[in-house]
Symmetry: C2
Subunit: 132 residues, 2 copies
DNA sequence: GTTTATGCAAATTCTTTGCAATACT
DNA sequence: AGTATTGCAAAGAATTTGCATAAAC
């Protein structure tokens, strides 16, 4: 069965075309995506409001994960385990990719602080842009 | 001489009241600030557009540093050395503070990737909220 | 006196919401 | 059939911009 369908079933969500289409994009692309990029990929087959509502729903359910980037445009990726991993945002092309396979730096929070999520973002020049 | 005045001189910027006032707030407060919070602090003595223009100018000049949080509201702090340090955002009160004094062991980026900035954001419950 | 910054208002961009129409179970 | 989702349009929030006025050098 298709991955996207499986995800909707796992989370007990109504299976609609919009949700399947949006999940398809995320399972195909490894980079983080914004609402606008999804809208472009779907070529108008799905309304902007629906995309926003779907992104919010998926984030709430834990299917997607919102990247802490320095911009006002929200970007999302499929949520992966382990939760704590590095993201790399290219200052030239703007792509945000997950750097899996890189061990995270270790740190200790001060007394009294409790960690719930960690967002590690490295900004710089990605391999593709460097070689271009 | 006042710190704010020194900063403007160091960066060769025209010394205006708005810039001094905004810098004063940053030197007094340790938490990251948004345009809205600065506007409130200034009680209308400075226009919204001016605050935005000033924040952008200071960021461009390297006086301020934009925090990579996951929200649509931009927050800034005075730029400190070392550039790579942890920020902690409280999920209850929303405050973002710099966790200086926490050492970040090294990590290695994959071949071909060049680092220009690192943004490490831990989200959770801050000490003040935990104790309240 | 010239250059640069500010204030105001309007425009842009990103995101959310109300509501009737449609799709899903 | 009944509930949940979508599309449309309008509203909202954050940020930027044009232009005349005011402040800084």
């Amino acid at each position: 069965m298709k991955t996207s369908l499986k995800i909707l079933e796992k989370y007990n969500l109504v299976k609609t075309q919009a949700r399947l289409d949006i999940l398809d994009i995320f399972t195909e692309k490894s980079a983080a995506l914004s609402e606008g990029e999804i809208e472009d990929s779907l070529c108008g087959s799905c309304d902007r409001a629906t995309i926003y509502r779907t992104l919010n729903l998926f984030t709430l359910k834990g299917i997607l994960h919102e990247i802490a980037n320095g911009s006002t445009i929200r970007k999302y990726t499929l949520k992966k385990k382990p939760e704590r991993h590095l993201h790399f945002e290219c200052n030239l092309c703007g792509e945000i990719v997950c750097l899996t396979g890189i061990s995270l730096p270790d740190y200790r929070l001060p007394e009294g602080f409790t960690e719930q999520e960690a967002h590690f973002l490295i900004k710089g020049i990605c391999k593709a842009c460097y070689e271009a």
